[in-house]
Amino acid sequence: MTLQEWPSDWMRGVLELAVMRVLADGPSYGYAIAGRLRDAGLGEPKGGTLYPLLTRLEASGDVVPEWRAGDGGPGRKYFAITPAGRERFAHLSEQWRGFTTVTTFITTPSKEKHHV
């Protein structure tokens, strides 16, 4: 499954939340975050999409970066979610759940609604 399988407008709206969700599990670096999103079925965002988003999250204080030496490989920039970021993520994810409930209701054909 690739990123292009979902409408790009939807991806733009949800990518920040999805990245924060990955970071809520612990610090991670760009390529690993992209891999987690790919494995979850959201598609793998390009570096040109992912890093500007991480830079924005860094600038807003939602994540903090730290360069760590790799195991025999290149150093990697890890991002850790901050308490403020975690709080914002909780708020946004609650909103997102409400949003998807509403959009699911709206987009479900009337016939199916009676069976729910």
Binding site: Y31, A32, G75, R76, K77
Partner: protein, 200 residues
């Protein structure tokens, strides 16, 4: 996730280096400081090492990616003092010294073309500083910009040889050395802002 790609050939290495050079130049001309440029370069390199992708594949064109990052800018507070005056001093000084050496017996003629080429130089640098975001969209654009300026600066003294004044070669030599010395001193005053790799 792979970390090394033994099949990466020298051409892809040079493609990556070229992309990184352009990207660094574009960030520099946008006024991003050296530490942030180093950080952004290391991010790209690290991602490409992990994914095995080339920068163009993963990040697109350097100009688009540089613009999308919205990194804070810290433009030099005084471009006139930091760039134009030092280089102008060196150019005028070199002109005088060269003129004195080449025309030791006849004196150094200050021509309409020489004055015009100095004006062109200042205009090109000033326009570049004022509109660098529009002018410098790639390394090629920067080379073309300076290339056009250089051709004009060389051509004007040749097509406008009318003398405005003639200076004694000794005076020209002394003036030239003073200008060169002032230019060098001004260059040394430019604050260093090296690109630092955060990975050490």
């Amino acid at each position: 996730m792979s970390s090394d790609h033994p099949l990466r050939d020298s051409s892809s290495c040079s493609t990556r280096e070229s992309w990184l050079r352009d990207f660094a130049l574009l960030l520099r001309t946008r006024g991003v400081d050296g530490a942030r440029i180093g950080d952004a370069l290391a991010e790209v390199e690290s991602h490409c090492d992990d994914s095995g992708q080339e920068p163009t594949e993963a990040f697109g064109e350097p100009a688009d990616y540089a613009a999308s990052l919205h990194l804070p800018t810290t433009k030099p507070t005084n471009w006139t003092m930091n760039v134009i005056l030092p280089v102008l001093g060196l150019v005028i000084g070199a002109n005088f010294v060269l003129g004195a050496v080449l025309h030791w017996s006849s004196g150094v003629a200050i021509t309409v073309g020489v004055v015009a080429s100095m004006v062109v130089f200042v205009a090109f640098v000033a326009l570049l500083i004022g509109f660098f975001g529009k002018v410098v969209t790639s390394r090629g654009a920067l080379i073309a910009w300076f290339g056009a300026g250089f051709v004009l600066m060389v051509a004007l003294p040749l097509v406008l040889p009318q003398a405005l004044a003639t200076v004694h070669p000794v005076i020209a030599l002394v003036l030239g050395l003073v200008f060169v010395a002032l230019g060098l001193m001004a260059v040394r005053q430019i604050p260093a802002d090296p690109i630092v790799d955060p990975r050490g």
